[in-house]
Symmetry: D3
Subunit: 134 residues, 6 copies
């Protein structure tokens, strides 16, 4: 069993905001991250797939294929987008990095051979990152 | 003469857009960077000051002082902000990184001992950066 | 269950030295790391907390709160300090990175919701790092 | 139980190629990675050893010793080498990073105290890495 | 005048070898870098263009255009190639990084507005890099 | 003319302290950096040499030779040392990074072909670095 990681990047705008709360409450909970005029990040995404090595190719999964899936299912919908407004699979979800990694997992889990998606990791800044393993 | 560099970071939203042009023209020139719903970056800023070393302190400039100036004049006005709407010293300027480094230079040049600001460098993504030396 | 990581840094002096041994024996075991005049590092600390996402905030733990805890319990007592002499919670412990990660774990485990501290990782140089998971 | 990681680097040439297949088939499977004139990488290797801390030294394993083992058993045979032709312990194996991490594991597992090798991780480029845990 | 940097990467095989010398002399001069079976690197290339900012776009040069030029003139001819054998514009040149940066400069200087190419920088490993400014 | 950079690292303890001043004044000027029990850093050093390329070798300077000089003249005297007490060429100098880069320059300038030392750069933390060009 080998763990294969693919790293991709995307740049996006977002705002932490819960419509259940007033603007004041949002500001108290989320601080400057709730700025109604948005802010943004250079997100770094790492997708880890585990599996046995194919004897003929020496691959667990072809990196080109993994890259294509991530691009089609995830980064095309997030890169240079507003995560609150434009990313269909995040609709109705507060775009914290915790929620983003789960949403990305759900986008990918059925695109990759059953049982082989191992981890989705997201770096929001150089000082924090978030991981979901299903 | 020693060159002293201070590195700071800020996260912001922006959009490349020239009001002289139609939406179509903006899209043609700026591509996905003109998304009307914004996108954003983890910007990395490096400010370089040059000068002679003070005999008593061994410093060209006290890093704490340089940090305070950058915070007060630049990052407080850019961190977790929308650069098109909220950063007063960028008003009327297309927030390309080229324009941002010049605007930051202008914010800093009179705050630091005359003639000693040497360079303002801005990393927009891991694949590009921009520098202005006055 | 999402894993949330906070990265912090501190700069400290230390010396590897076991008072049970002679200076010669210490030199043999620890090499230049036992220099009686000290040496030091830019340590990088990563604290990982695991937990369920709070529905209202989208957070496992508020990064600002996690940062405050690490600062109060750990980095305030280690940053710009001598780990052999000044860090109270390291008293009587040889300050190898192995011992440091366990000591930091013990400082944090009761400050964070029961069962949610997952890992403490410490980078001593760019060529080695150390992790403790309890 | 503490996890201790040692990071080493090596530069090597390789080619992805399966002699069972024609050149055309190799090109279809491996793309430009099958270039018969070779290409190469700055590989980054991380070896993780887990164990209890020795009371007298504060070490799980002496970094100098771990470094020596990796050098003797692995990097001396891979650094500035052609992995397809010159690395004896890779003979007959397609040098994908998946196969390399397993081969390195086999080189190391009997050199380190029984049961204590935890992981071998290899970064091939800045956008992918591969891990084997036995 | 703003300095704009574009960063690109390529992976290649090479060998340091001067046909004027015997194999023994090559080994003495170039050490393990003269391995006749090749070795390779993940090269990182930074191209710096200087110029005035276009009022209408806020750009010195469009990053997409700069990227296209570097790809067409440089990385398409170097990525996953053998620099001694396959890179036409390096023919007859010992592929040290010093020679590579000059060769890349010559490939680019006529493709970018006259006088605006400022620097070509190449990172061969994490411990060395090379720069040419014309 | 090509600029060749060699990167080396060293770990050291130091303290910012001017004997002309009282302890209170030192604390006021240098803050926690004046801690009498020392603190330390993982310093990163970059030495830049400029010169013409030798036709026979393709080198400006052999990296192995540059590495040897830096080791003998600089890092052997600074690595795992106390810069205030043990580094002979820093005697009587407050070990700010500004003073360190000048001291390192003086150690190197006569060891490298006349006129070819171009720059000495020192990274003290990830947020500041210092450069001297003679």
């Amino acid at each position: 069993m080998v763990y294969v990681t693919r790293r991709e990047t995307f740049n996006a705008a977002h705002r932490l905001f819960n419509p259940k709360f007033t603007d004041e409450e949002n500001l108290k909970i989320f601080g400057k991250c709730s700025n109604p005029n948005w802010h943004g990040h250079n997100y770094v995404l790492e997708v880890v797939v585990k599996g046995e090595i194919d004897k003929d190719t020496g691959f667990v999964i072809d990196q080109k294929e993994l890259k294509r899936i991530i691009k089609e299912k995830v980064t095309n919908k997030m890169d240079h987008k507003n995560l609150n407004i434009e990313t269909d699979f995040m609709e109705g979800v507060i775009p914290t990095s915790e929620n983003i990694v789960i949403s990305i997992w759900q986008q990918l889990v059925n695109e990759i051979k059953s049982g082989s998606l191992y981890s989705v990791k997201l770096f929001e800044t150089e000082n924090n990152y978030f991981e979901y393993r299903g």
